[in-house]
Symmetry: C2
């Protein structure tokens, strides 16, 4: 992936997501990279991303798993086709189902690591499992069912007849 | 609940949550009210809470269900004990597990309604189901397993021996 995250290759019209869009200046700009057969993303919460004092807000943790899951789905789909991200047509996934288990409180004040594994690729659907850790301790586990962006959700200027939409 | 949300009664030290803390000026400040046997919260996303153009970011939707779920758990616990929110000791829950199913894309640009129902109250655990709708159309369903805040997560000045912590 030559130093770039899979989200860096999302088409501009599909790069505004609050979680992972590189063009959303308000958002988290989550970045998903390959690390062997796993994917990895890192994120440092702000002090105001708090739940109970000292710990990270669970909704943010769900968001990290969500967008790292759809990013992993896109990365895995390119790899399954033997293509590089950035080649046409682009892969872009949204979440159909999200499951998050908060195993223990996630401490604020450090960089979090989210690791993804592809459980299944089947047609337009990819299932990804994720583990989020802080200081090497797994605090959250999740699973994302990601599906390719349906054609009706793509801005008009971006629609073109290709097998992925 | 006399016009106040259950979150308005959270102890100040437990009111900084990015999702529902009234003292977090950066956060969503989600408010949970009773409506008969259901609870209701309403939230209007900002334009930058976007996923694919025209639709709301799924991580925000998960956050709304998350904090409305823990708010519902607190409200239901007061009701189960025949107490008013604000009476001592306070109830405050965190999320142990979150499940979100995105049934259809949630349109940006309108106020969303989240309705909660208590499925189970058992000891320190409350299970809540939630439906999120936009313009009367249910777009997201979720379930929250909420547990009372463990004593080790409460700031020192707030710890006192009572049966709830």
């Amino acid at each position: 992936m030559s130093g770039k995250a899979v989200q860096d290759f999302y088409p501009p019209d599909l790069s505004h997501c609050y979680g992972c869009g590189r063009l959303n200046e308000h958002g988290y700009q989550i970045k998903t990279y390959w690390d062997g057969d796993e994917t990895v993303a890192r994120f440092t919460p702000q002090p105001y991303h708090i739940s109970i004092p000292g710990y990270v807000y669970g909704g943010l943790l769900a968001s990290l798993i969500d967008c790292h899951g759809t990013g992993t789905a896109a990365a895995a789909s390119y790899r399954a086709e033997g293509r590089e991200p950035g080649s046409e047509p682009p892969f872009r996934f949204v979440t159909a189902a999200l499951r998050v288990d908060y195993l223990k409180p996630t401490p604020l004040g450090m960089t979090l690591e989210i690791r993804g594994r592809v459980l299944e690729i089947k047609g337009r659907k990819v299932v990804v499992s994720a583990e989020l850790s802080a200081g090497g301790v797994v605090c959250v586990r999740g699973e994302v069912v990601a599906v390719q962006v349906p054609g009706m959700m793509i801005p008009a200027q971006n629609t073109k007849p290709d097998p992925h939409y």
